[in-house]
Amino acid sequence: MTVTDVPIATPSPVLAAARRRGRGLAPVLPALALIVVVFVIPVLALLLRSVLEPEPGLQNYAAFFASTTYLKVLGNTFLVAGTVTVATVLLGFPVAWFLAIAPSFWSRLLFAIVILSMWTNLLARTYAWMVLLQRTGIINRTLMEIGLISEPLPLINNLVGVTIGMTYIMLPFMILPLHATIRSIDPAIFQAASLCGASRFQAFTRVMLPLTASGIAAGALMVFVMSLGYFITPALLGGTSNMMLAELIAQLVQSLLDWGLAGAAALVLLVITLAIYMVQLRFFGFGQARG
């Protein structure tokens, strides 16, 4: 059984007809106009600077790829985004599964916790992690008082801090799409699998995983791409030696005032993001909505 065989939602004939006629475009225009004016045009302007400043040419891109520092920052960005994506899949899957099968009281409660944590101010949540993770923070103090460690663990201003903080912040973006996918699976399928003699492990790897692959892919794409461009959490929980690309861009814009190079770095990030999106489209389709 492959992913595409699973009818998640039957396309409605009314929607399909509307799509053929190209209706429904007019109500989209205000949002589209907003995005073009406040997002697309400024981004294009910044990207233009990358080939126009300080003089026309590709010198900013040459400088970017010639610098071991910038390449290292690019590498760090991928390392963090990848680590966070894997961590959210591993932590998010059981939660999404529990949300789908638990009695409604417990699933509602857990759902509220997931959603509420997402609605809490990002900066407040990141500062909370600082309080927890720092050398004189709660975790280190507790461990030292119990006598498990004699020196504070380095949990902040490094990759560990960024990964912990970002995994926590990204978790809902993994859980929500996964939950939607898992909920749409008919539980009878697993009974059928075990009736056919599949062990629990086989039922998981050969039935569960293929059925949820599109949800995992959607969540992973969301988390990975959001992580690539993340700024606040890495800036507060990370150290300068594992800087991510967004921080580098901010530094170039705010402190060095080198907007040409900043534009180049931004375009590199944008191209990579789009490339990943294309790969995702190619393998998993545009959700199931293509009809």
Binding site: R135, Q254, S255, L256, L257, W259
Partner: protein, 342 residues
């Protein structure tokens, strides 16, 4: 007239009315941008409140200062800041790049300002020292004296904290700690400075804002490091047991500038005149623990406060060379951030 064009006409009228309203309102107000925290609170209390009382011009506070934003405003011609508190090396570079207006010295009294802290395009906001700050409780009673102690991780274990951004200060500190005499600092030996910093790099926690530096020191997260003297003063005022050493304190000034094309230039100049007046500077210095740039201010201040200002610790004081920094700001900045990211 079609419905669409009539709607457009109405919208245009509304827009014009709105703009006129905004222009009228603006003649009676300016926007002052600074670094937030205890420093901007003191600026508001000592400068903005009396200024509004005297002139009727309201002062809106904004912040924190962001050089990228300032440049973007000037380039787009839509300047919403009227007076900005910036670091002196940026002021010098911004004057060169045409990002700031010349100061109107028929309004601001140049003669009263310490000549170290006034240029054609910028007037001192306050003058500060980078000092060695420490948290005695976390250092188990040992007292650091000089910058060399900050680099001595055996005698003073734990994290040390320095200013994160490329700016005058940290490189000079590294060279002083490495034994370079104060009068031989410039031009900076960058190789030597970075090599010295490498020796403690893994123990450095960087602070990006004054408030962050206060949090790191007070919590003992980084019990020793480089701080703005006023931030230590503010911690002490609030009862925190932190201390400082004035040995080889490094002075620089923040500068007040007016972005090119600011909408309320004249009011901005008046505000700068108020801020740098003997009274404005004396009041701010009393509040903040930073030193006044106006030579007439010290006489107006309480004796015990005046005794604790950077200008009373001149014996081993070193002036950071803003001329050198303005000329080399870009080149040092590139190397600084590359080194940090290594």
């Amino acid at each position: 007239m079609s419905r669409t064009s009539r709607a457009l006409g109405v919208a245009a009228l509304a827009l014009a009315a709105g703009l006129a309203g905004a222009a009228m309102a603006q003649s009676g107000s300016i926007v002052f941008t600074s670094w937030g925290g205890t420093t901007q609170d003191a600026q508001k209390k000592s400068w903005a409140v009396p200024f509004t009382k005297e002139t009727g011009i309201t002062v809106k506070q904004d912040g924190p200062t962001d050089y990228g934003k300032l440049k973007a405003m000037v380039e787009s011609g839509n300047v919403s800041w009227d007076v900005v508190d910036v670091e002196a090396d940026f002021a010098a570079a911004a004057a060169k790049d045409g990002l700031i207006e010349p100061i109107d010295f028929s309004i601001v009294k140049r003669g009263e300002i310490d000549p170290r802290f006034v240029t054609d395009h910028a007037v001192g906001s306050f003058y500060y020292s980078f000092v060695l700050g420490f948290n005695p409780a976390s250092l188990k009673g040992k007292t650091p004296k000089s910058w060399a102690d900050v680099f001595d991780t055996t005698a003073f274990p734990g994290k040390r904290t320095f200013y994160k951004w490329s700016a005058p200060g940290v490189l000079e500190i590294a060279l002083l700690a490495d034994g370079v005499p104060a009068d031989k600092l410039y031009p900076l030996d960058l190789d030597r400075a970075f090599k010295k910093l490498d020796s403690i790099k893994k123990d450095i926690v960087w602070w990006g804002t004054g408030a962050q530096s206060q949090q790191l020191l007070a919590s003992g997260e980084a019990p020793i490091g480089q701080f703005w003297n006023g931030r230590i003063f503010a911690l002490q005022q609030s009862g925190e047991k932190v201390d400082l050493s004035w040995e080889q304190n490094l002075t620089a000034a923040d500068m007040l500038v007016v972005p090119k094309g600011a909408k309320n230039k004249e009011a901005a100049m008046k505000f700068i005149a108020e801020a740098t007046s003997p009274e404005g500077q004396a009041s701010f210095a009393t509040e903040s623990g930073y030193a006044p740039v106006n030579v007439k201010s010290a006489a107006l201040m309480p004796k015990d406060v005046a005794a604790n200002l950077p200008d009373k610790h001149t014996a081993s004081q070193i002036n950071l060379d803003m001329g050198y920094w303005a000329a080399h700001r870009d080149e040092i900045g590139k190397r600084w951030y590359a080194w940090q990211a290594e």
